[in-house]
């Protein structure tokens, strides 16, 4: 089985490296070619164009957003050139609507589309600790499973329709953003009232809120440390907006998602474009008149 991997950013590179380690016959491509050098040095074949990478048994894409994925699919001609019977595995967090469009486009040409976005940051990708949320036809998922095993610690299959994987991924990012927002408001309240933020954090994580996610975001907010960004505010806004788009398409109101979206926009308007999305906590502090 030969595999192509398109998109060698902070997430794509460590994942591709793990595929190489697992002895996968790998072709790589990236829009700015230099990013591929390290992988080529490690044994991957370099594709000069998307078209050059499209003739594989499995083509994985891991790109920034809908626009980048659309470019690969249509301008780059992946949809046109992917062989009958081959699989396109989209690992990006992109829209539910685009997943539907790609499902139809690949179907029409006898190929299969699979969505497999991941939970985890670059360090988790490097450590093969990603969680993979996969959706698509079972035979295709079965064929991809060895690849997923090489990339992550566990794969969750959540249905035959590829778009469901994106939906679930977006809902997960919504849940994380909700935790950030709630921590931001809680810290603003206790901080302004005179409670020591570090003691407060210790109390939270020592009691009901022991999951690492509370520790991670709680300490960023307790220390008001929003640089360097692990996940930038504009990306957070992109994902919450995609979640709300999907929710509208399903006619599901999500008022908490709307609230978070408004706060993210306010954060961007007030200069937090380069900050981590946990800077929602700083917005809550500012709204409470707490000075930097």
């Amino acid at each position: 089985m030969n595999v192509s991997f398109l998109g060698l950013g902070n997430m794509g590179r460590p994942i591709a490296r793990n595929l190489l380690k697992a002895a996968v016959d790998l072709t790589v491509w990236n829009r700015s070619a230099a990013r591929a050098d390290e992988l080529v040095a490690a044994g991957a074949r370099r594709a000069e164009t998307v078209a050059d990478a499209a003739r594989a048994d499995v083509v994985c894409t891991m790109v920034a957003d809908d626009a980048a994925l659309e470019q690969i699919a249509w301008e780059g001609r992946l949809v046109e050139l992917l062989p009958r019977g081959a699989i396109h595995v989209s690992m990006s967090t992109t829209s539910v609507a685009l997943a539907e469009k790609l499902t139809a486009a690949h179907d029409a040409r006898g190929a299969t589309f699979v969505c497999a976005p991941v939970f985890g940051r670059p360090d988790a990708a490097a450590a093969r600790k990603l969680f993979i949320v996969a959706a698509g036809p079972d035979p295709a998922l079965d064929r991809c499973q060895p690849l997923f095993d090489a990339m992550g610690q566990r794969t969750f299959r959540i249905g035959q329709e590829p778009r469901l994987a994106n939906l679930v991924k977006l809902s997960g990012n919504f849940l994380i953003a909700s935790i950030i927002e709630s921590l931001g408001e809680a810290f603003a309240l206790v901080r302004k009232s005179g409670v020591d933020p570090n003691q407060y954090l210790e109390l939270l994580t020592g009691t009901l809120f022991s999951a690492p996610i509370f520790r991670t975001y709680g300490s960023l907010i307790a220390e008001r440390r929003y640089q360097p960004a692990g996940f930038k505010m504009p990306l957070g806004l992109k994902d919450i907006t995609l979640a709300l788009d999907a929710a509208r398409a399903a006619t599901v109101p999500m008022p908490l998602a709307s609230l978070i979206r408004d706060h993210m926009i306010a954060a961007l308007a007030q200069g937090f474009s380069d900050a981590d999305w946990s800077a929602l906590g700083e917005l809550a502090a500012r709204n409470a008149g707490i000075r930097a």
Copy 2:
């Protein structure tokens, strides 16, 4: 050191029992006296009135709300009769404003007020697994520490001002309610889109959301099982309203708390008075047009 314990509800009884087990010299009182029988049988002294229980070194109160605590303090004459140098430990989740009032009232008579609300449900109380959030003057907290050790697994001291313990407790309930609300919206989205709720729950708790709190509330929402209530909706509304009152007093906006409060009121208006507060998830489902 003799200790009185006032308020023998679902939380108060197991706590008082643990004090007896720790060989504390204990007097107990409850508005409806029958609730004290079991503890008296186990060795506690029965007080017929609040006044009868007020002359102790430490008086603990564990009651339903501000009104019940005010009644004990003023009509029941606890403030008047508590000896100089004695300590009143309020373990209820009551308002920050009442904590300020009781602090001043006890101070004026040479006694000390301490707030020590707890995180944990009755089963945690029985198992001595409560988390105790304590605030008050250090010498008073030091004297109470053996009692706290007999009640819970860990005590967090968060300041000299008693009211801060209530504030922190209320902020904790706000964080829990935020998790419920976000889960409710996420489940409405994925359920209506065709994802199996149990698979979704497994995915959440198997990845980033592994804390027991996600498991607890996630499974209630996945199964739409809101009876019997572990913590009833009206109590949730009471606590969120107290949090918002404290936030207003501190001039801190908490838009997510406001959103939750509105949803709780809508839930009560639509018949969820006896349901667990996780029925916020059912409200989210209804708002999305998902039928029971």
Copy 3:
């Protein structure tokens, strides 16, 4: 019929003056006595205490808030001293809960409580252009009607229960605040996009939004002129909070009222305590990153 008027602030003074002009036999009282001088010079009798003013056929009160009205009613002994068959007309915007309490208290002593809050600012009061929202038993309202006619341009009777007048008044202030909030957000959007705010205002008021209320608040927001305040932000917050309290008591969610309340608290936290409540528009501008 002799009438007492208690509370001679910016609203009370012009109203009392109009009663004198209508040849009403008038006794006046104010906490700071100097405020009564002008009315006494114009023919009113001065009461030294509330008690001194309480023995009248009709006692009108027009004070700042619940606390001031409670003080007159109980510490000042109005409830105790108001003669059987007499009427207490409360014209302040106070809580629904206090209206219920005063209804019961006066009833118990054979007097009648009436609520008659007003729409209109001091200039409208001076010009006898107030709108009076009256609720109470019909015979009492009939007896008060000549007084209402001397104060305002029109009286609306909205029920037998006095509290309903407060509820309706509070709902009216909520509607005004909603208009302010919506204008604030709309102006932030068009201003940041490059539309001239004055042209925009002309368009709004020249088309669908021709009511004076849009002109008044629209021009304050277009010119970002929030001083001097016609109605201060903290009073706005007081009224929205009272509306939400009443809504909670009636189990009615009011999410827009909650949103406004949060924005008012944020405005206070950011230094708008002395500003007009239309400074909600400035908060919207700030949230959009628009500089002063």
Copy 4:
């Protein structure tokens, strides 16, 4: 000057009729051709295709949404065939982004794009009472002015950039929706508390809220009469979503618009797809547990 009018729906037909009455040399086109019959009988020329109508001095379009306008512009080849120096006047309420795209597309071929959406319903269109919100280069607006005069009672010019007219129109619909939402919540509160809705409406419109817009929407909500729809809920949702999209592009948070959007989605999920957008008031009633 010859003029083409494309889109003969409930708004387009009466507008085109008024152009004929003003002796404009008019060509008409509609996707379902029968809608043109009446105008052809009255003297208009019938175009069989968009292309057939594209070679005019001024081409007006009045269609349902972005998709319909895009189809006319690109598939229908209006952009390609509109003569150099000619003007495309878009009167639909469409997105700010599409206005930008069409501005660039027409510019590139030496034609001019103008946006001129309108305030007013079909009866206002028939009565030449529309308000026209126009934006575009001044010379183009000057040339269109006689047409605008034939269509409406007043034209507001709000800038040289066509997209600004759409922005302003969308902001106006947001303001209307805000009034509906606030009335819905206020009526829910007073109705559940026992105030007669019709008396309440009379009070509102007799005092501060005298503009026709309060009368119109207030009476629909007071009578709970949401059929037949003057402006259907899905169209309201479309416009609020476009306003939020434009606001996001301008980095302006609009939390009240978000709240309204969520309620509209909830209304659609609960069966109000054919109802007037004032059925937001019914949603508020339901949320308060008020039965139909």
